[in-house]
Symmetry: C2
Subunit: 412 residues, 2 copies
């Protein structure tokens, strides 16, 4: 008997009919002889409604109370799903975060999971019940309600699968699986049958919205066999797995993009030790995450520091730096929001050279100027003008022949 | 320093503006130097919305899961109220039922309170916080979410006041207090400054909707000084208190009515020991509560048994009894839904006679036929044709001069 964790997002439980459909999908696995744990998000639109109520009360609020309000959506969804499953003849029981004991730290609104207890759930599974667990929510050591951040239900599902040592964690979504790039942008994009954890991790953090980054980190850490598949159509989806020899033969597996960043340059700072700390210290204090960083030092001994920040933090970061300009001795702080980050990703890069050249040539051929470059072992990211995003993604998808099955590609 | 528990119903927190208004009322008591605990219901309409979702899933459901769904409304309300209070400058913290440890039995949907822990709340109060507690909800020994039934937030407030030994429990509502009868039916109805627990208890169970019956039972048991007052207008409301000599001088304090019952007669049963058990046993098994009972035995040794049941259970009760007719040896089972129960209430009845005569004369004078009578130490109830309800209430209100201040009444 296998143990399967299923996760359904808000659109899958948007109406009572869809909730009944999710119930049927859980029951199908149960009838096939598996133990089934289902995690769900709030009914689509509900979390936004609750956030709007909080925002209607003023410019700021206690994060603790925010979590109390927004976690109510998942509470409604699990009760309804448990009722739907039972009305189709299979015993079920719902669990809130605190009932599982889904222990997190106290970082309200973006809490990290510390421990998930499995005893109560195992007892229910052994008794033949389908267990329904609220996604997105947990509790901290002091007994406060916490939430895991947007997309947190993915992480809930993977954490449950890890704690229960599940044989599979099926993440149901509105697409068939993970694609070589966004199929809405590139119709030729191919669904991948398998993807390495590391590749998925890069894709998630580089802008692909299919899974929350943290859920992939957890899956990798605990080797959880996660499958991403459609709740609307039959299909085997995409399996997240450890990398193997076949994957390493492929140069590039996917192209990701993000329009969620902005670029800031601090111009003409006298170059000295501690310069970066002087610039990034105040940003860290203001809770601004800095991503790509580029530093040029001119012959005159002056440095320009360029970096990207989340678009939502752009204005805050600009204000912070303009206040610091004088103490930094900088000449100017400039910023630009109309940028995009485009990345090629593949574990094959570890053992193959020439990916960067091929990437830069493809972009240069159509006159796309590269503003910044950042690399890791298995990805290359470039920052370009936002207006070229779609063109760049298509060019790169073609250049690495991602529309062809991996074995048929010329360059590997 | 006094400790005050305030309770606000769903209409008082229906919009963000009203939530801010509740926040201001809590803060006013806080600024006056009191420790303040606020209990709230779900935003008006929310509980109905959640119940409709459950009902949309089928003809029946697990009461456990029902409680998970419907208790989400209060969760949203307490988070929003805590945020509203803090945005007005006073620290606040919200508590869900399980966070207080609001322990109940496991009778989902109508759970009874077993114990309320006060340690965490006292700590927050001592730290200068206003504490906001979810009404209507608790948890049982096994850690399941429970709810206290419609109107349960009144009971939550009184239970909190009892546990915290509060100096006052202020129940805010949309009327000025407790009236001598329904002011919508009798414009001359007077607001009472004080009412004895026992009188309020009879009023609540005889149909007055101002407080949940259980909340009054609790208030009486723990001598909680409950005040019922308007959240919309200034005023001292009505204080629930133990009876004293002044109250005992008054013959009748109030007139209550209910249209929520139906009448059933089992006709022509051979009279024998165990007859009542044979009739009421099956009804108890079907969870039908029987209220007033009347038994006539004719000269021929046949008995007619007449009793009232909640209107919502009428059809179920009729079916149960028709199935039992043969084994009971009864000739017929008849029923009637168009009835009303009208009651006069007053602790003064304990020491005064003549109330029944005055009541029956008042009704007879206008030709209102009495179908059943039931009495206790401090109330007399009659069942009449439903169409006479309003007339009967007005006649009795006049007959006992309830439109005059208690001291000015001729009959006492």
């Amino acid at each position: 008997m296998s143990l399967i964790v299923q996760k359904f997002g808000g659109t899958s439980v948007k109406t009572l009919d869809r909730i009944r459909n999710v119930a049927r999908m859980a029951i199908a696995e149960h009838r096939a002889g598996h133990q089934v744990v289902v995690t769900v998000s709030a009914m689509a639109g509900e979390t936004n409604r609750l956030v709007a109520l909080v925002e209607g009360l003023g410019p700021s609020w206690s994060e603790r109370e925010y979590d109390v309000v927004v976690s109510a959506g998942e509470q409604v969804a699990i009760g309804l799903l448990a009722i739907a499953i039972e009305s189709l003849g299979v015993p079920a029981r719902s669990y809130l975060g605190w009932q599982v004991r889904f222990l997190t730290d106290s970082a309200h609104g973006k809490a990290r999971i510390v421990n998930v207890e499995d005893a109560a759930i195992r007892k229910d599974l052994a008794a033949g019940r389908i267990v329904v667990v609220a996604g997105f929510q947990g509790m901290d050591e002091a007994g406060n309600v916490t939430t895991l951040g947007r997309g947190g239900s993915d992480t809930s599902a993977v954490a449950l699968a890890a704690a229960l040592k599940a044989d599979r964690c099926d993440i149901y979504t509105d697409v068939d699986g993970v694609f070589t790039t966004d199929p809405n942008m590139v119709p030729k994009a191919r669904k991948m049958d398998r993807i390495a954890y590391d590749e998925m991790l890069e894709m998630a953090s580089l802008g692909a919205k299919v899974l929350q980054t943290r859920s992939v980190e957890l899956a990798k850490k605990y080797k959880v066999p996660v499958r991403v598949l459609s709740s609307l159509e039959e299909g085997s989806g995409t399996l997240l797995t450890e990398e193997d020899a076949t994957m390493e033969k492929v140069l590039v597996s996917a192209v990701a993009y993000s329009r969620d960043e902005a670029k800031i340059t601090v111009v003409g700072i006298p170059d000295r030790p501690g310069l970066a700390a002087a610039v990034f210290g105040p940003l860290a204090e203001a809770n601004v995450n800095v991503d790509m960083i580029l530093q040029n030092v001119s012959a005159s001994g002056e440095a320009d520091l360029t970096f990207t920040v989340p678009k939502g933090d752009f204005r805050k970061a600009m204000v912070v730096l303009q206040q610091k300009m004088q103490s930094l001795g900088a000449k100017e702080v400039t910023g630009r929001e109309e940028i995009a980050k485009v990345s090629v990703i593949g574990v094959g890069m570890r053992s193959h050279s020439g990916v960067a050249r091929r990437m830069f040539e493809a972009l240069a051929k159509d006159g796309i100027n590269i503003l910044m470059i950042s690399t890791s072992e298995i990805k290359i990211s470039v920052v370009i003008e936002e207006k070229y995003t779609e063109l760049a993604v298509r060019l790169l998808h073609d250049a690495f022949e991602l529309d062809r099955p991996a074995g048929d590609r010329v360059g590997g």
